[in-house]
């Protein structure tokens, strides 16, 4: 799927990282994200999805390897300039502060000294929350909260959005709506999205997935290439069957008496 002429936004080469002195948590991690790509990051709990996203946005500093953002080393950017290029939404946000939706979305403008063209209202319009501008975020549903933060990252203007488990704790309807929204925004605005997720069925509909095991890229490519029964067994430690609907779309199922 990925075209060789595509502009590379983020490139990681042989990145290593460890939380403690003894164990390297991430070793020799290499991959890149091109303009307009929409990547799902999959892996078992503790495989390093969050760590990789945090390395990508600079919250964690790699102990080895290089990390380029728009062909320049990450360290060459001032924090504010970096924030205009890449934004990261953590899995959990302390949302007990009763900011209004609009206040929160406007925080996307913080890295800017000269205001960009988009306004908070436009950003809210893009995520379909125009009517909630003055509500407190504490009053919103889980899906609306996520959309609020996505509106904020749109205002932030970053070309690359990293999301850590944005679908967690959402009902199936909101999960699908959120993925559709992100995909639409990608199509309309040519932004790149990398999101960690754990639902293989949703990942099977992605254009590109990256399987993570023990802090390394186990496989990367279209779901058909990367999400094979063998790869899933290898990374998640459970045997599944990949089935096909009449229209050709894949889904997984597992056997009741699975002994592997």
């Amino acid at each position: 799927m990925s075209s060789p002429y595509r502009q590379m936004i983020l490139e990681l080469g042989d990145v290593g990282f460890s939380y403690s002195r003894q164990d390297a948590f991430v070793t020799k991690l290499s991959f890149s994200v091109g303009e307009g790509e929409f990547i799902g990051l999959l892996g078992a709990n503790g495989s390093g999805k969050s760590t990789i996203l945090k390395l990508c946005c600079g919250i964690l500093k790699p102990s080895a390897g290089f990390l380029n953002l728009w062909d320049k080393p990450f360290s060459a950017y001032h924090n504010k300039d970096r924030a205009k290029l890449i934004s990261y939404l953590p899995q959990t946000l302390d949302m007990n502060v009763p900011f209004t939706v609009k206040e929160l979305v406007s925080m996307g403008l913080y890295p800017y000294d000269i205001l960009p063209e988009m306004t908070a209202d436009e950003a809210l319009g893009l995520v379909g929350l125009s009517d909630k501008a003055d509500s407190h975020i504490t009053e919103l549903s889980g899906g609306e909260k996520r959309r609020t933060f996505i509106a904020m990252t749109l205002l932030q203007g970053a070309g690359l959005i990293l999301l850590d488990e944005p679908l967690a704790n959402l009902d199936i309807r909101y999960q699908i709506e959120l993925v559709r929204l992100l995909r639409r925004l990608r199509d309309e605005r040519n932004i790149s999205v990398v999101m960690a997720l754990h639902d293989i069925n949703i990942a099977l509909r992605f254009e590109k997935v990256m399987l993570i095991k023990n802090g390394k890229v186990f496989g990367m490519g279209s779901p058909a290439e990367a999400l094979t029964e063998g790869a899933i067994k290898e990374t998640f430690g459970i045997g599944v069957k990949i089935m096909r609907q009449p229209d050709g779309k894949a889904y997984i199922t597992y056997e009741e008496n699975d002994n592997g």
Binding site: G58, A83, K84, L89, F99, E103, P111
Partner: protein, 320 residues
């Protein structure tokens, strides 16, 4: 937002004006005799200025601290800054030393406040950063230690010194005088400017460090700056007039009802609200039972708490 902030500013100036001209005896600014002039300029004006400075410092510090500690129950005194100040001030009062004349106790209190503030900062420091939970626990721990030492000091001191130290600790604005004010003002405004410049960072920090990072802030550096701002404001306030409760804890919550949670409005609103409240409380304290004065800290809570509870019932209060 902004119109509401303007209304608060108006209320604030109204409170200051009232405090200047109303008192045990009202003063007509257009016909001043010598006594009235002396009362207005030498007694009342410095007192009102000190009330305003203290109230503003406590209100703004409370708003900042509740944000950086992500805790709606945080107040500037929780960091042990005031206990440290009370301890050194009480030491000074009870031992009766006066190496700097009338500046002795304020300077001792300021030194105590800065010392405890720094100690809390050092204890809250780990892995190249200030951590909210560590700060909070270090503050609470140190605060208990200082209070215990204060109790120890008071139980071995003579009853007379004890009463005076108690009076000082529970806030006394009657001794306000011009010479101390520029120093207090420098620290209060200094802290307020630092906090004001970092208001956006504070907003982002309230939603978490990673989020703040994503918006281009360095969370630990921002927290240190904001903590220093709170330390300066609180230390200056305690050294100007002792401990005044309530303002640091509840005025930010009251201000939130009016201007919302955005620190860029909440901080000035808390400062204005704190200043106005303490002014009015002091006005009441010195006017209702002349020639006796009631402690401002008590009045602050007596008029502030019911209003806060009223707001709490009427509006849907949300944490932080």
């Amino acid at each position: 937002m902004t119109p509401r902030l303007m209304i608060m500013t108006l209320i604030f100036f109204l409170a200051v004006g009232l405090s200047l001209f109303i008192g045990p005896t009202n003063i007509n600014p257009f016909s001043l005799d010598e006594t009235s002039r002396e009362i207005l300029f030498a007694i009342r004006a410095p007192r009102v200025v000190v009330a305003v400075l203290m109230g503003m410092a406590l209100g703004a510090s409370g708003a900042v601290l509740q944000g950086i500690l992500r805790n709606p129950l945080a107040d500037p005194y929780i960091l042990g800054i005031s206990s440290g100040a009370s301890l050194t001030a009480a030491l000074g009062i009870i031992s009766g030393i006066s190496f700097l004349g009338t500046f002795t106790i304020p300077v001792l209190a300021f030194a105590g406040a800065i010392a405890t503030g720094s100690l809390v900062g050092m204890l809250g420091w780990q892995r190249r950063g200030l951590w909210p939970e560590r700060l909070l626990l270090a503050g609470v721990g140190l605060s208990f230690l200082c209070s215990a030492l204060l109790m120890l000091l008071m139980s071995v001191s003579r009853d007379e010194g004890l009463r005076r130290a108690t009076l000082w600790i529970f806030g006394d604005l009657s001794m306000s005088e011009w010479p101390r004010i520029p120093y207090g003002m420098a620290f209060v405004f200094g802290g307020m400017i630092i906090a004001g410049l970092r208001a956006r960072a504070l907003n982002a920090l309230m939603l978490g460090d990673e989020f703040a990072h994503s918006l281009g802030f360095t969370p630990h550096r921002e927290r240190v700056l904001l903590f220093v701002a709170v330390g300066l404001m609180t230390a200056a306030s305690v050294s100007l007039g002792g401990m005044i409760g309530f303002i640091g804890l509840l005025v930010p919550h009251m201000a939130r009802f009016f201007v919302g949670s955005d620190s860029r409005f909440l901080m000035p609103a808390s400062a204005l609200g704190g200043g106005a409240l303490l002014c009015v409380a002091d006005l009441i304290g010195r006017s209702i039972l002349p020639p006796m004065e009631l402690p401002s800290g008590v009045i602050t809570a007596i008029i502030g708490a019911p209003y806060f509870l009223f707001l709490l019932r009427r509006k849907n209060v949300l944490s932080v």
